[in-house]
């Protein structure tokens, strides 16, 4: 039952997507071109963010911690 509801909801969502982007009026092959292009772009954005965002976040964290803290993490290590 839930699966059916979910499927209906997804259909409705896709219909709204068709209407808002305007591709509702296009022919099927044009729709698939649009979907492919959009899907590729979104996939590329996601992949790029997956690859590069963690690195940037780490670098940024290091930068800011160096800026604000400036203290070594542990003073115990120094004593040894």
């Amino acid at each position: 039952m839930d699966v059916k509801n979910l499927k209906e909801y997804l259909c409705w969502l896709y219909y709204q997507y068709l209407l808002i982007t305007g591709i509702y009026v296009l022919e099927p092959w044009e729709q698939s071109i649009f979907n492919t292009v959009l899907f590729t772009m979104v996939a590329m954005v996601i992949y790029t963010s997956y690859v590069f965002v963690p690195i940037h976040v780490r670098l940024a964290l290091e930068f800011f911690s160096g800026l604000c803290g400036g203290q070594p993490e542990s003073t115990v290590a120094l004593m040894n």
Binding site: Q16, L18, L19, I20, T21, I23
Partner: protein, 568 residues
């Protein structure tokens, strides 16, 4: 804007008063107890701040005048532009494919041997027709096969090549509720008094004499019709023409010419625009129903006279319509008449949609405001809508009509009206006037007013954006997005309701809309069915944009750039 309303308050010609929270009076009832005296409330307003009127009623109005044009939500506007952008990109792709002969071109285009001539199919309108309109063409020009009354039968058609061609399946879609015909009083019938009278006249007179009124085409029915129209309008004299469009476009050139000034509302119908252009007069356009804009143009015209020579204008003619068919708004006639009298201009009132549909007696917008029809110099209207016939009329002073009879192109050259059509008008007009001894006409006018109020109120409650005056039987409902135009027409037809959807050339590009025309022939059940279906489709297509922030029509955004440069 506020400045000029201040001026008006100061000289006492026109006054405004906001009426928050007062319900609009019904069309069929005259409510005179809403008379307001002039208030001094404008004095406190700073010239720069916006005054938020909900309605603009002064001593000139005998009833609340509620007109609303809700603002387009920002997100919707952005998405609409995005949709048009995507469709335009695909349009260019298809044009590219056609150009390189990868795809067959189905539509007229430049011929190879005419390549160096002036291009015929390259402007934006052609691009729009080819690449946007063609895709949703099935919602327009649907062939019908019955009388277009409250219900109509449609010929079923399918398209196998995405609306380039249509095949008829041979089936008929029965009993589609007709929300699209200008059948305001329900006189589009093939049975009943009018049809019988028309049939009788057909057997007696035939269907036409193929001659002009000035030669052999003048029949006693025509004379009777003109007398009746004059009586109906309350004017000295009237004349009838066989074509409503030509009534406007051929009579305005007879009335004005070079050295005359025409002040035209920006949303006037194409026939008025054509007539004004043909006349060769100078045309200046004022903002839709905006009296400040009109007064400014009038004052400038009188102060400065004609350009370069500065001679006074020979005539100044104000062109307005009773009900604007795309916006559903009603002209602010009391204010227009006040201005016209103040500045000694002439007034041409096109009552194409309002005659029969407005006023307690169905006598148009003059009756609706309880004014004297003698204050309007030229009363024009059509028989096409409320009377279920064809043609148009012009009413006014006897001198005016006598002049037009000899000078108007459509009076001199056009074939006279067909007698059965004339008879249909006579019978339906007598019915509205109550001269047939029944109250059918009155009841219909009353019914139309009730239907209009009911339908508009319900749509507003559902959360749709509805344009126009509360008493106007033309109900435009905003759709905005290009795909929703086609989807709305199709989904409504699937549920057995025929609607008119309107897109770009007739409206601004982002303000696509569906237009419902209420008829007296619609029963409460039909309206309820239609409303529930509209609500259902509205949910499906997410059309309930309204955020219930009703903007007053006075504060509708308009840019000042089109004003004349002089500022006093």
């Amino acid at each position: 804007m506020t400045e000029s309303s201040e001026n008006k308050t100061a000289n006492g010609e026109v006054c405004h008063r906001a009426t928050n929270g007062i319900k609009p009076g019904r069309n069929g009832l005259v409510k005179n107890h809403y008379l307001y005296q002039q208030q001094q409330q404008q004095k406190c307003c700073h010239p720069d701040e916006k005054v938020h009127h909900v309605a603009c009623n002064g001593g000139l109005y005998s009833r609340p005048f509620n007109e609303s044009f809700e603002e387009t939500p920002m997100l919707v506007a952005v998405l609409t532009y995005m949709g048009y952008g995507i469709l335009t990109i695909f349009g260019y792709l298809r044009d590219f494919l056609r150009d390189w002969k990868i795809e067959k071109c189905h539509i007229a285009r430049e011929r190879e041997e005419q390549r160096d001539f002036v291009p015929l199919y390259q402007d934006f309108e052609n691009f729009y027709t080819r690449n946007l309109y063609m895709r949703v063409r099935d919602s327009w020009n649907r062939p019908i096969c019955s009388v277009p009354g409250a219900k109509v039968d449609l010929v079923e058609r399918v398209s196998h090549d995405y609306n380039w061609t249509f095949d008829y399946t041979g089936k008929v879609v029965k009993d589609v509720i007709n929300m699209g015909s200008y059948n305001y009083l329900g006189f589009a019938e093939n049975t009943g008094v009018c049809a019988d009278a028309a049939a009788e006249v057909t057997t007696k007179y035939g269907i036409g004499v193929s001659s002009t009124r000035q030669e052999m085409g003048n029949l006693d029915r025509h004379e009777e019709l003109e007398k009746l129209v004059a009586k109906f309008l309350g004017v000295e004299s009237a004349m009838a023409f066989g074509m409503g469009f030509a009534t406007n476009s051929m009579n305005i050139p007879a009335l004005t010419g070079k050295g005359c000034l025409i002040l035209s509302d920006e949303l006037n119908h194409a026939s008025l625009v054509l007539g004004a252009r043909l006349s060769g007069s100078t045309i200046r356009v004022f903002k839709h129903n905006n009296m400040q804009s009109l007064e400014k143009l009038l004052r400038d015209a009188i102060v400065h006279g004609q350009p370069r020579t500065h001679r006074p204008w020979k005539k100044i003619l104000i062109l307005v319509e009773g009900i604007y068919s795309m916006e559903g708004s009603i002209v602010r006639l009391p204010e227009v008449i006040a201005l016209k009298k103040k500045y000694k201009a002439y007034l041409y009132l096109d009552e194409a949609h309002s005659i029969g549909a407005l006023g307690p007696n169905g006598r148009g917008v003059v009756d609706y405001f309880g004014l004297d029809s003698r204050d309007v110099d030229i009363m024009m209207g059509t028989f096409t809508k409320s009377f279920g016939a064809a043609g148009g009329y012009i009413g006014g002073k006897k001198e005016l009509i006598d002049y037009l009879r000899t000078h108007s192109h459509s009076a001199v050259y056009a074939t006279s009206m067909s007698p059965p059509v004339v008879e249909q008008i006579i019978t339906s007009m007598k019915c509205i006037m109550g001269e047939d001894g029944t109250t059918i006409g009155r009841d219909r006018v009353q019914q139309l007013a009730e239907n209009t109020t009911y339908f508009r109120r319900k749509l507003q409650e559902m959360g749709f954006i509805i344009y126009g005056n509360d008493d106007s039987p033309v109900v435009p409902m905003m759709l905005y997005m290009p795909a929703k135009i086609g989807a709305f027409g199709r989904e409504m037809l699937k549920r057995n309701i025929g609607v008119v959807v309107v897109g770009f050339p007739a409206t601004p590009i982002i303000e696509s809309r569906a237009r419902f025309c209420i008829s007296a022939a619609h029963t409460k059940e039909m309206l309820d069915t239609a409303l529930s279906v509209i609500s259902e489709v509205g949910d499906l297509l997410q059309l309930k944009y309204s955020r219930h922030r009703i903007l007053p029509s006075l504060d509708r955004p308009f840019d000042e750039t089109t004003y004349e440069e002089s500022e006093d």
